[in-house]
Amino acid sequence: MIKFGPGNLRIPRFQRPVYVVAGGMTDFRKRYPEKNTCELCTEALRMAVEENDLKVSPEEFRRSVNWCVYSQFADHFGDQLLAAAKVHDYLGFDPLGNIEVKTGGATGGSAVLAAAQAVASGYASCVPVVGWERMDEVSTKVGNAYIASAACKDFESELGWMYASYYALMAQRYQFENEVPRETLAKIACKNHGYARFSPYSQNPGDYTVEDILKNDIVSDPLSFLECCVMSVGAAVIILADEETAFKMTSNPVQLKAICGGTHTLRTADRRHMPILLLPNETEATYKDYFNGKRNEWPGFSSFLAARMAAYLAYNMAGIKDPVADFDLLETHDAFTISDIQTYEDIGLRPYGRGREFIDSGDAYFEGRLPTNLSGGLIGTMHSVGATGIFQLAELLWQLQGKWEKFHADPERWARYGKTKPKDFRNLQVPNAKRACAISHAGTGSHVTVAIMERASR
């Protein structure tokens, strides 16, 4: 059992405010031999610098940068150690300092956390965060084995060499404990494939019914292929800055109010039970009747302590009292439908055991109380791992700036990626969005970051 000491739950503080001024990305593809990794990163940075209505020229921007953070999950996928040095050099940022961050699927979130720490502490004033993953040098089957080497290779990886199975184990237990209908999980996949149809960047858009998802081939029961994230190639960039630099560069920066991290054991097996860490919108009474014959422990296999820990810190840091009411938008790390529903509970959208209500109530949809993964998420749009947490924040930045249409609706942007804008295109700009949250997540919940962004004015 984890017993917190007084220092363990200290709420983080930024010494000075941190802003997001621009975002950029490539489109995401299963295979992308047309462009090498350096070119993809440059394309995402170029978009951030040139297409975000910055008040400074690309040259002035270059002369403002004083620290860089790079985000790549897996050296063995890219088959290039020190890839960050190669990208940094290619982007022309030498001899500025840089750091490369790695925390599995949460690499993007952790990279932004590292960049935010640099800005908040005064170490830096303008920091590009550049993330990518090159997952197309190997076959899908080898790719799955590579990903499964982010499980414990001594005691777990050999059991299937398949990450979907490790989530499927959680899914079976979650369904047993909570009696969530199979259809509810499938609805998450329908939603995210569906929103991906309105993103020119998306890799796996589709107009699916619940029946389509349930009839789809099973990877590891109960999870079907369409309920699993895509394996992607692509890059994403956001640019963080201090207040002075942010307002010099853009008239509508977004403030990064909080970004916090939590962890839990790499092996799901090793998660000992403990009392539930309560969020600001929960009390002891919330869980008076939580434990019953089927469920007698927390976090068990049904909950992510790492996500709860990160949400606890970030909500307290940003003054969030009720996430569904306080956020206008959410991006979750929907690696699998099951992890999405678990996350709803971990971050307090519903109490533990009731995550299904967030989907079934309609809250999670566009025009619902908290539209979630309008980007298409990892299931519909991309999981180019090192880019993922950065991609989420770029999408939220544009939503908070009221620029979603600029970056999604222009037929020329679709043409840029060799695509045609769908005839039934839907505008997914959330009107007057003020505050948004993004979850970056690794392993079977080994690392999670929770980021909170808010529209800024001065």
Partner: protein, 157 residues
């Protein structure tokens, strides 16, 4: 001085864009270190766990997978046989495993809860159809061991 190439060539996958095959034909030597005792135990039909011996440490239960050092107090642990019966805590049958998997799918993966053990060991069900709560007992691949975690499996009891 003249440098001659050794004649090997990178196979071309596509010419536009130019894509080549980089071959990797070597192995890693991996040491289990202190955990070797667990894997050698499987060869001998034993399920070995560890327990913290620090009298002031709060965690008195067994660890399986074993840890040589206690995560709660960093004391060294002692080795002890674990019960070889348990219950299926959860399961999933993998249909499409990754490239390195040594068994033919479908393969029912299971997590096993064992009395007195603070963890839920991941393994697989060698016979039968898994269900949550199913009583199971450990079986060991002692005849032709893989020297991996696959040498431990479970069957219904």
């Amino acid at each position: 001085m003249t440098v001659e190439l050794n004649g090997t060539t990178a196979e071309i996958v596509s010419d536009e864009p130019l894509v080549i095959k980089n071959l990797k034909n070597w192995h890693h030597t991996h040491s289990y270190g202190g955990w070797g005792r667990f894997f050698k135990g499987l060869r001998e039909g034993k399920l070995l766990a560890t327990r913290c011996v620090n009298p002031v440490c709060r965690e008195k239960r067994l660890w399986l997978p074993p840890r040589c050092d206690c995560p709660d107090c960093w004391s060294r642990m002692e080795w002890t046989p674990a019960p070889t019966i348990g219950e299926i805590f959860t399961h999933s049958t993998v249909q499409y495993p990754g490239a390195l998997f040594r068994a033919d799918p479908p393969c029912p993966l299971i997590s096993v809860s064992i009395d007195g053990v603070c963890t839920k060991l991941m393994s697989y069900l060698k016979d039968g159809t898994p269900r949550i709560g199913m009583p199971v007992r450990a079986v060991f691949n002692t005849k032709k061991p893989t020297n991996t975690i696959l040498d431990l499996a479970w069957v219904p009891r």
